[in-house]
């Protein structure tokens, strides 16, 4: 603009003044939370008040769980024999009898788990070594590429292929109390979703465990995969190197101090990698199995919060700072030159 008012421009020129709106001026209504002493103390107390009862509840729930854990891998091998050779041999008698005492009354259903320690079901090689497509649809039985080296045998596809299926756990347990057999319900131990969708009802095992190295359990070729519930349970690979897998349920109460005799077929080779095998009988509550950690954790957090609340209150009483007290502003606090 050269002239005084710049009105040499046609006055019809549109004003470029931005339109006012609360949004563009960043003046939208807003909630401005501030950590006032009241809010802080309330928060701490609230968390404490919520967490401690939850912690206590979970702890008591966990305490109510009755659990029998029996490690049998060491004892079920004759001490004079070489472990791997013994377990790998077809000829040896692997039956092993264990006796367990029920510490407290166990209400049915009593869940039977096998527990493996030091077994990395989450190992990358292992996790990838399966073909979910093959498991689902009989037409896909040739899709075995991820399953190497347990993919094909004599160029015929293995169903189910891969290390996961190959290493199927195959110890079996028989239970008896006072001479009477306890029936073990092995129905519905796998997820419904696995039975109904993930594993095909028309996919039958083929060429399974035919290789030169047998990894674990064999499968009945006449039963479709979706009904091989032990396999389904096994194939839900565990997240951590110590895991339990559901074996079955005992649908009757076990009285305290009852002696349970367990006949174990000790077939599974956990000795090759220094794993441990345990048999677990456990009841459940809403929190699941026996685990005090969560309860203790909640109580700790809750306690910490209450402690903080008290500290804060004490500090507030000793040295209060009113909100927005200008004397705390840096330019009021440290006048330059002092």
């Amino acid at each position: 603009m050269s002239s005084g008012e710049g009105s040499s421009q046609p006055s019809s020129k549109k004003s470029r003044q931005p339109k006012y709106s609360r949004f563009t001026q960043q003046e939208l209504p807003a909630c401005k939370p501030i950590l006032t002493p009241g809010l802080v103390v309330t928060t701490f107390i609230l968390v404490g008040v919520i967490f401690i009862p939850i912690g206590l509840l979970s702890l008591s729930a966990s305490e109510r769980v009755v659990e029998i854990v029996d490690r049998y891998d060491e004892d079920c091998i004759p001490s004079d024999q070489e472990k791997t050779a013994f377990i790998q041999s077809d000829k040896t008698n692997k039956t092993c009898v264990r006796s367990l005492t029920v510490p407290k009354k166990m209400q049915h259903p009593v869940y039977i788990y096998y527990q493996l320690d030091n077994f990395y079901q989450n190992h990358r090689r292992y996790v990838k070594s399966r073909s979910d497509k093959q498991l689902r649809n009989p037409e896909n039985e040739d899709l075995t590429s991820p399953c190497e080296p347990e993919a094909r045998i004599d160029n015929k596809p293995i169903v189910p292929c891969g290390l996961v299926a190959w290493s199927l756990f195959n110890d079996t347990y028989g239970f008896s109390v006072r001479g009477m057999n306890l029936s073990v319900n092995k129905k519905d131990i796998a997820w419904d979703s696995d039975k109904n969708y993930k594993f095909g009802s028309k996919v039958y095992p083929k060429n399974f465990q035919q290789g030169s190295l047998i990894g674990g359990g064999k499968l009945d070729e006449k039963i479709p995969l979706s009904e091989q519930e032990d396999l389904l349970v096994w194939m839900r690979t565990a997240a951590l190197p110590s895991f339990r897998k559901l074996y079955g349920r005992i649908e009757q109460d076990l009285e305290a101090n009852e002696k349970i005799t367990v006949v174990i077929q000790n077939n599974y080779n956990a000795y090759a990698f220094g794993g441990k095998k345990k048999l677990v009988l456990s009841t459940t509550t809403w929190i699941g199995g026996k685990n005090n950690f969560l309860g203790l954790g909640y109580i700790t957090i809750g306690g910490l919060c209450l402690f903080n609340a008290t500290t804060f209150i004490v500090m507030y009483l000793i040295k209060p700072r009113p909100c927005g007290d200008p004397s705390y502003l840096s330019w009021n606090r440290n006048p330059p030159g002092n």
Partner: protein, 1239 residues
């Protein structure tokens, strides 16, 4: 705390005007120099080259520097020569001024003013460097060289080239290359951590988003190109003007343009509707200046009737270049050789105005036009925060390498320890038993030995942990900056109604720098002042006429002239001194009266103003609008008109002035334009009484050296005294002189002038010599004082900036007295300040003054205070340093620089007067090179371009002096006072937002990486991921991206009101409180804790349970997303509904995504979420994780906020609970600032 503890705030016991004030004894020579100053002093005269006098007429325009800038930002064209210049620029060599770089400026007068910078005119165009244009013969013109056609292409891509070129350009970013390398690594079968599709997803997402944006922009460019190319113009074909599409115009063709048409290409004018060959063009599209420029057709071609007689000739001109103010060529026509200059060419993009038609020959077309060569993008700078962030990114990449090393070393150890078991291990099974070898051994399957296994593990862990380097951060930052820019542009408080200009963000990537400024370097004219010049007073032959009365709109009609039955009236009214008006009106021939007449005649004639008449509502009255480049000249012409000397018409050959109702015609025989060496301009008029007179006006220093000292010594003395008093009240002064030429003198001048103006070599130097020959032995007519009003709100703005701890330096070309008086009126200087004035003429005296000043300053400002001097507003005796350009010549670029820096850093205010443009940059560099402090330069004129480019943040005022400052700037706005909302409000917000966002993004990605890392320790170091591939890729795209962007754009810690009320809050950014290394490490420690809580709580809760990988993975995914989002929620200061939607929406979206992923039977973790979420344990874990992870942060935050609150927090509390009154009581009570000694 009360004011008693702040002794500095107690008003100084010293009273204004007390004799012991304010000069310190060290400056005896300074006092002397003040009194000496107006005298012609050979000492200053010698250094005149390096000074630029803002008082004088057109301001120097350093187009060079602006083209340097655009060159360097114009990637593909940055040539070696330009970068060389850039270097010397950075070295801020003041001497470079002498090399004529500054001499270049817009030329308007064709035959007369082809004076150009030495560097240009000294070289004749070689045949190799020239292009030959045969007029009206496009075929021959294009025979040897195919010149560019006139079709333009601003679009970057075509449909075919789009994909490769766009992708290529995008991969200029290092971040994208990192992305790509990772994605490629993942394609190797040994390293395939993620599914192939998944691993490319983030890169593909980012690339395609950018590609869509680019494609859309390019599509719009294509469309506008098409419209542009198909516009029609009249082109001479077979001796007839025919319409032709713009794109078909060829170099050499003759084109006819009508009034208000745009020019299709750069053309040399041949003839115009005006008999003298004048054409007016508006260059608003080119450089944004709306005033009309005059261009000339050569008389040789003007005479011809182009449609009737065939014209042929040859124009030999420079190769296409981007200098819109330079053009050099000559034309051979009818056997004569005529030289052509910048005033003979009209450029594409301009519009023809006030001229019925113009005919020209196309010389540059299409992409070779100057307009197209100049269309380069906005300058790019990198923000301070981003530079610091890159340092942290390097730390993060060390983290990444460390994590990968740990994992791979552990993996190696594990393999070694289980060496014997690997063959049969069910979950490893190294041997491939399916293929029996002949010798009974088995091959290894996928096993490459320890070394390679470790190496592969390392690469795989890089792939898994890739998000440690937050690539999404770069994209989020861009989005956030766009959002911030949107808010800055839309801020109604930064809209300037008078120039109808919004705030402009020209650089998008330094928003947050605005929150960390410590130094503001401001131009004076047009920045602090309005640059609306108003004639205020005059001293005519020793008599001061200073009684201008305020304009009373109703009564004062102002002067008007009757011409051809029409009343002409100047558009702007000027207040007049009644006494002077009566003298001017009286027809007496007394001495004083004739002096007054000559004086006003000089004002009306000695300029380059073009009068334009505009219609008014009343058909009998027309308004005269004076168009010109210099606002001072405009003010003078309006003043002359008000006193009855009204410029009515100007052509290249004559001017018409209405003198008290009589119309006089003066022949303009010659005009010596203003240049920065002479600092004056002169016009040679042939008066109606056949006398020839030279009128000269210019800066006092340059004028007193050419005024005849033998005449009227008392007048000279009186004028000097008046000048001194004018400049001490802040007026811009000009001295006017004249001389009558005798016939012999005139002839001598004319012949040398002709020779000089047609010279091909050294034209500018010759013309300068001719000018200085004729500008001598002048009789002094008088001096004028022009008021340059302070812009609205400047004192308040400066005060706010000072309270915010920002040091304001004013760099001006004005005289020292003017600068000081403006300093007082703008409250830059207060009477409590001790002024240190350095005003020396040699290096030695500079050294001495600096030494003395340093001693004094150390006495007044002890070191301990100087260290905390950033506090700004309240120091022990505040110091003001006033230094002039001459001293700077000796100081800058020498060992004295360091001393100046020491001194300046102790001063609150620094005022540099009479500085040249490059010195301005030198002063900015003085600070920038020696401290880490952020600098901001603000200016409006071409002379500020160098400083704007030098500073970290450059702000252009879209004001009166054209748009070059704006073009070179990073931000542009209408008024100086907008600096306050810009820095204190938007700068503060931007800084807080971006700095939080960077820290948060580091944290957000690191948490995920650490969770993945912990899990790797439980998978025998094989990097199995519990989270699905999709989740880990969607993490930074969907799960957590939106909230950080929303918070980065919208969150604000303090309200505008509070920030403006307490400018001290700005200190947070200066002290880097929002982002620093400590905060980074604290955040990283928090990250480790949070990731541990997220990971180990479920691990311990689910230890020895039946949980599967996918279920636990889903728990971790959700836990990370919830924790990360709640972490953000904990830090959000203002909850808008958008914030709520973004944060809670992200968590919900994550749940939905996890569910969808677990509903796909083809994926490994089918139904896992529904299974695990069916148990109470899952939800208890989530709740426990959330609280446990965030508890330490919350506790630290609560206690630190409560017992070590920072200013922002207190202000926020006060803001919310409304005890602002309490705050106000504790506020600093500013010293009452005494009225500046203005008038």
């Amino acid at each position: 705390m009360t004011t008693q503890q702040r002794p500095l705030l107690i008003p100084s016991p010293r009273t204004p005007g007390a004799p012991e004030l304010p000069y310190t004894p060290a400056y005896a020579d300074q006092l002397k120099s003040i009194s000496e100053n107006p005298k012609p002093s050979s000492g200053t005269g010698m250094d005149i080259n390096s000074q630029v006098d803002n008082l004088s007429l057109p301001d120097n325009i350093t187009l060079n520097s602006s083209s340097q800038r655009s060159n360097s930002s114009y990637q593909s064209r940055a040539s070696g020569r330009n970068s060389m210049r850039e270097v010397s620029f950075a070295g801020n060599s003041v001497r470079e001024l002498n090399s004529g770089e500054l001499g270049k400026k817009p030329m308007r007068y064709g035959s007369r003013a082809e004076s150009e910078g030495l560097s240009m005119s000294q070289k004749e165009i070689n045949d190799e460097d020239a292009r030959f244009v045969y007029i009206n013969d496009p075929v021959k013109t294009n025979e040897r060289f195919e010149f560019a056609r006139n079709s333009i292409r601003t679009a970057k891509y075509s449909i075919i080239t789009f994909l490769p070129r766009n992708v290529f350009e995008q991969f200029h970013r290092v971040a994208y290359i990192y992305f790509l390398v990772i994605a490629i690594l993942n394609q190797l079968p040994q390293l395939a951590v993620f599914g192939r599709g998944v691993s490319v997803l983030p890169l593909a997402f980012v690339l395609s988003v950018t590609a869509v944006k680019d494609a859309y922009e390019d599509f719009r460019r294509h469309r506008s190109d098409k419209i542009e190319n198909n516009r029609l113009a009249w082109v001479l074909v077979n001796d007839n003007f025919q319409q032709k599409k713009w794109k078909d115009i060829q170099v050499g063709e003759i084109i006819k343009i009508s009034a208000n048409d745009s020019l299709p290409c750069d053309m040399v004018l041949l003839s115009t509707s005006d008999p003298t060959g004048v054409a007016y063009v508006q260059t608003i599209n080119l450089d944004g200046e709306s005033n009309l420029k005059t261009r000339y057709a050569k008389q040789e071609t003007q005479m011809k009737n182009l449609e009737k007689e065939k014209i042929s000739g040859l124009i030999k001109c420079e190769k296409p270049n981007r200098n819109i103010y330079g053009f050099q060529a000559n034309m051979e026509i009818d056997g004569k050789r005529v030289s052509l200059g910048p005033s003979n060419i009209v450029l594409r993009g301009c519009e023809l105005k006030n001229t019925r038609w113009a005919i020209g020959v196309a010389v540059y077309a299409g992409r070779e036009t100057k307009a197209m060569l100049n269309s380069s993008g906005a300058p790019s700078k990198r923000s301070r925060l981003e530079t610091q962030m890159n340092r942290e990114i390097i730390i993060l990449s060390f983290f990444l390498v460390a994590l990968c090393t740990i994992v791979s070393v552990c993996a190696g150890v594990w393999l070694r320890r289980h060496k014997d078991e690997l063959d049969n291990m069910p979950f490893y099974r190294k041997k491939d038993y399916s293929e029996v070898e002949a010798d009974g051994n088995y091959d290894d399957y996928n096993y490459y030995g320890y070394g390679l296994e470790i190496f592969f593990t390392f690469l795989m862990s890089v792939i898994v942990f890739q998000v440690m380097i937050p690539i999404s951060l770069y994209i989020s930052m861009e989005l956030v900056r766009v959002g911030q820019a949107y808010f800055m542009i839309r801020d109604t408080n930064m809209y300037d109604a008078s120039s109808n200009s919004r705030f402009q963000c020209r650089a998008l990537n330094i928003n947050e720098d605005l929150g960390q400024i410590k130094y503001v370097f401001s131009d004076k004219t047009g920045t602090l002042t309005e640059n609306k010049m108003e004639f205020h007073c005059a001293s005519i032959s020793g008599v001061d006429y200073n009684g201008g009365t305020a304009i009373d709109e109703d009564e004062q009609v102002g002067y008007s002239a009757q011409v051809d039955g029409q009343v002409l009236r100047p558009k702007m009214k000027v207040k007049v001194d009644p006494q002077l008006l009566s003298i001017a009106k009286s027809g007496k021939q007394a001495d004083q009266e004739s002096r007054v007449r000559d004086f006003f005649l000089a004002l009306a004639a000695c300029n380059t103003i073009v009068p334009l008449t505009t219609e008014t509502a009343d058909p009998a009255v027309r308004l005269v609008d004076y168009q010109g480049e210099s606002p001072d000249e405009q003010a003078l012409v309006y003043a002359a008109a008000a006193y009855g000397f009204m410029l009515i018409e100007r052509t290249s050959g004559h001017i018409v002035i209405d003198v008290q109702g009589e119309t006089h015609r003066f022949n303009v025989l010659g005009l010596h334009e203003f240049d920065s060496d002479r600092k004056r301009m002169s016009v040679i008029l042939g008066c109606p009484d056949n006398s020839v007179k030279v009128f000269v006006k210019g800066a006092d220093t340059s004028m007193f050296s050419v005024i005849d000292n033998s005449l009227n010594l008392d007048i000279l003395g009186a004028t000097e005294a008046h000048l001194h008093s004018y400049s001490s009240v802040g007026l811009r002064t000009l001295v006017i002189g004249m001389r009558e030429l005798s016939a012999s003198e005139f002839e001598q001048w004319q012949s040398s002038y002709e020779t000089a103006s047609t010279a091909l070599i050294g034209r500018a130097a010759l013309l300068r010599k001719v000018a200085s020959n004729v500008e001598s032995n002048l009789r002094i007519l008088g001096a004028s004082g022009i008021e340059d009003k302070l812009q609205q709100g400047v004192p308040e703005a400066i005060e706010s900036l000072r309270m915010a701890g920002i040091k304001v330096w004013v760099l001006t070309g004005d005289k020292q007295e003017t600068a000081i008086s403006i300093g007082y009126s703008s409250k830059l200087l207060t009477t409590q300040m001790t002024q240190i004035v350095i005003n020396c003429k040699s290096k030695e005296s500079c050294r001495k003054s600096l030494d003395d000043a340093l001693i004094v300053s150390q006495k007044l400002v002890p070191d301990s205070v100087a260290a905390h001097a950033t506090g700004g507003s309240s120091e022990a005796s505040p110091l003001a340093l006033i230094i002039d350009g001459t001293s700077l010549v000796h100081i800058l670029d020498s060992e004295l620089e360091e001393q100046l820096f020491q001194l300046a850093s102790r001063c609150n205010v620094v005022l540099c007067c009479r500085v040249a443009p490059l010195q301005k940059a030198g002063i900015v560099a003085l600070i920038k090179n020696r401290t880490d402090d952020m600098t901001l330069a603000i200016g409006d004129g071409a002379n500020d371009v160098s400083m704007i480019q030098m500073a970290d943040v450059g702000i252009g005022i879209s004001g009166q002096e054209g748009r070059q400052a704006v073009m070179a700037s990073d931000f542009a706005m209408g008024q100086f006072r907008f600096l306050v909302p810009l820095l204190l409000v938007h700068g503060h917000w931007n800084y807080q937002r971006i700095s939080y966002m960077i820290l948060y993004n580091f944290y957000r990605n690191a948490v995920l990486v650490f969770v993945l890392f912990w899990y790797a320790l439980f998978t025998s170091y094989t990097l199995t991921t519990a989270m699905t591939d999709w989740s880990s890729m969607l993490y930074s795209i969907i799960y957590t991206a939106v909230p950080t962007i929303v918070v980065g754009i919208l969150d604000k810690d303090l309200s505008r009101r509070t920030l403006l009320k307490y400018p001290q809050l700005y200190g947070a950014g200066q002290r880097e409180e929002g982002y620093n290394t400590t905060l980074f490490w604290v955040t990283m420690m928090d990250t480790v804790w949070q990731s541990a809580a997220i990971f180990f709580l479920p691990v311990l809760a689910y230890w020895r349970s039946t949980v599967d990988i996918s279920g636990l993975g889903d728990l971790w995914t959700l836990a990370v997303v919830i924790v990360v989002n709640l972490h953000l929620a904990m830090d959000v200061l203002r909850w808008y509904w958008i914030t709520h939607a973004a944060i809670w929406g992200s968590i919900i979206a994550t749940f939905i995504c996890v569910m969808i992923i677990d509903c796909l039977p083809s994926l490994f973790g089918y139904w896992a979420f529904f299974k695990i979420a069916g148990s109470a344990l899952f939800w208890l874990c989530l709740l426990g994780i959330t609280v446990a992870a965030l508890l330490p942060r919350f506790i630290v935050k609560v206690f630190s906020q409560y017992y070590r609150p920072d200013d922002i927090l207190i202000a926020r509390e006060a803001d919310k609970f409304g005890n602002l009154t309490a705050l106000r009581n504790g506020e600093i009570e500013l010293n009452p600032i005494f009225d500046p000694p203005r008038r």
